[in-house]
């Protein structure tokens, strides 16, 4: 490993993109899952790898590897009165920072890299999940849509407890 090989210094994302990420996080914070889903494209992917530096969810297992149908099923379950693992439902707050753009993508289809922490509380227990987000956005009808959201938890390959609410 070349210890001097540093990652590129990336450009900060425009305020408009920050606002979009904050809005997405707020919909999850407020448990507005149906509204959250409308931010995604019809052929979207919500992916939470189960391994550090995992390259794909086709040849390795994942914690989430949701197409739109699975996302809809997931929300159906979150609303179901007998989804016992989320009764009561966990409350969470997501904090996003370090929002930069990956090089080499067109302006109307940026790949946005960020860091996050989520403080979550359920049944008298608080925990913190943290990691990196990767949002693949596309411009649609003068607004942004999420084509792909990747959530890389720092402890993705650890022995975990339920992660029932999307991060």
């Amino acid at each position: 490993m070349d210890a001097m090989a540093a990652p590129p210094r990336r450009k900060m994302a425009l305020p408009e993109i920050w606002e979009f990420l904050f809005y997405e996080a707020e919909l999850l914070n407020e448990q507005k899952f149906e509204a959250w889903l409308t931010l995604f494209t019809p052929d979207c992917l919500y992916w939470m790898p189960a391994e550090d530096d995992q390259l794909d969810g086709e040849s390795r297992i994942s914690l989430y590897y949701d197409d739109r149908q699975i996302m809809e099923d997931r929300i159906y379950r979150l609303r179901h009165p007998k989804m016992y693992s989320q009764r009561p439902m966990a409350r969470g707050v997501r904090l996003i920072s370090n929002v930069v753009l990956e090089d080499g993508h067109p302006e109307d289809a940026p790949v946005v890299l960020s860091s996050f922490t989520m403080t979550e509380f359920r049944l008298n227990e608080q925990r913190t999940l943290g990691g990196r987000y990767e949002h693949h956005l596309v411009r649609q009808d003068s607004d942004w849509k999420i084509a792909k959201k990747i959530v890389r938890l720092v402890n993705c390959d650890g022995v975990l407890k339920n992660v029932g609410v999307p991060v």
Partner: protein, 453 residues
Amino acid sequence: MTTKLADTPVAAKRRRYVADPDDIGSLVQPDRVHGSVYTDPAIFELEMERVFGRAWVFLAHESQVAEPGDFFSTHLGRQPVIVCRDKEGAIRVFFNRCTHRGAIVCREAQGNTNRFQCPYHGWIFDTTGRLAGVPYRGAYSDEFLADEGLNLSEVPRVENYRGFIFGCLSDTGVGLVEHMGPLIEGIDGILERAPEGAISVPVGVHQYEFRGNWKMQIENGMDEYHPPFSHASSVKKGGHQMQRAYGSTDGYKVVRDSEDQEVGYAESYYDIAECHGADYGQAFLTIPDESRKVDLREESYKAKMIANLGEAGYEDMFERARMSNAVFYPNMILRSTGNVHIRTIQPVAVDHTIIRVWPIQIAGYADHMNKGVLKYSNIHVSVASFVQTDDIEIFERVQEGLQAQQPEWLMLARGLDREWEGQFPGELVGKASWETGIRKQFAYWKDLMTAPE
């Protein structure tokens, strides 16, 4: 005249079942077990000695140590062990503990090496466990190093049944095949159905923990009473589960229509299938209908198997494929059809357990079928899944409920004395929602826990 509480029929009945604190066996009755078997730390300690210390315990699949020098770190009960294929190709299981001052000599989950070096004082062990190097050895006599027996300690008995590696801490008792009894069909079956006769677990592992006793997961492995209720939120219209396996567009059918209606029926939808229990606590479920075998009808698969077995041989194989979960007491569940996987149970404390699930990939399956298995595992058994998350929640609720001291007993009476005999000595067969398998597990538990030293 006053009625003494002790004279009431209720008290008399309760007295009949009061466990004798000096008699572990009294905690297990034919139709019930005492709550303390899940909550008492002293019983957990004894289980580590007498259940995990006496039974055959699953350790690894051979594909995890395929090449000479490959190793895989795991636990036998609470004890850290290394499963290692030595340079000559033999599989060995060492205790992961330096014979000098006790540090683990292997920190990695798996890999390949030609030696294990202790990080504390640099002692080196080769892949046969032999002490191969001691730094500054002049402070010891050669006789001391030769005579003291300072090689890595090995698990006394290790057996490999067609790639499934088990260890036993006791050097006496039955062999692995006798211990498994009818469950060899689970292993034989999945290999028979593999077009190239081999399986492996190369796509990663789902890992999670819960605050509950280890037995809850091994019991849940053949509990078909709970799905309509614990998993009500994953059932959609028509009673189909929303999980999607390869070739199943609707998901498996699990209830007639909806869970609310199920309460009014005398029998579970699952009761078209069976729960088998056998000696040594072994148990398995059969699959309820052919929707669980759609993968065996996939065209490229069918063509390969007909080439291997002929048309009649293929149909015979399809008919005989019947085992869903094979539950290897005390610590492994093999899902041998459909969403195939190996699930292991690691007891940590009386109220703390770690589960690991390894999706299986089948040699000769079409690529999209193997991918279907691993993707299915994400929504079936990950920490964000539609099924196992609710099981974990229920296990924790049971552990919490058992803090209540009354009633003292958990009821295991479903289908008691209605079972019929199976083909193995001691094998009983009941309907899928009956507690036949759990009763067999506790019968073995009682044998192990009460047998003299």
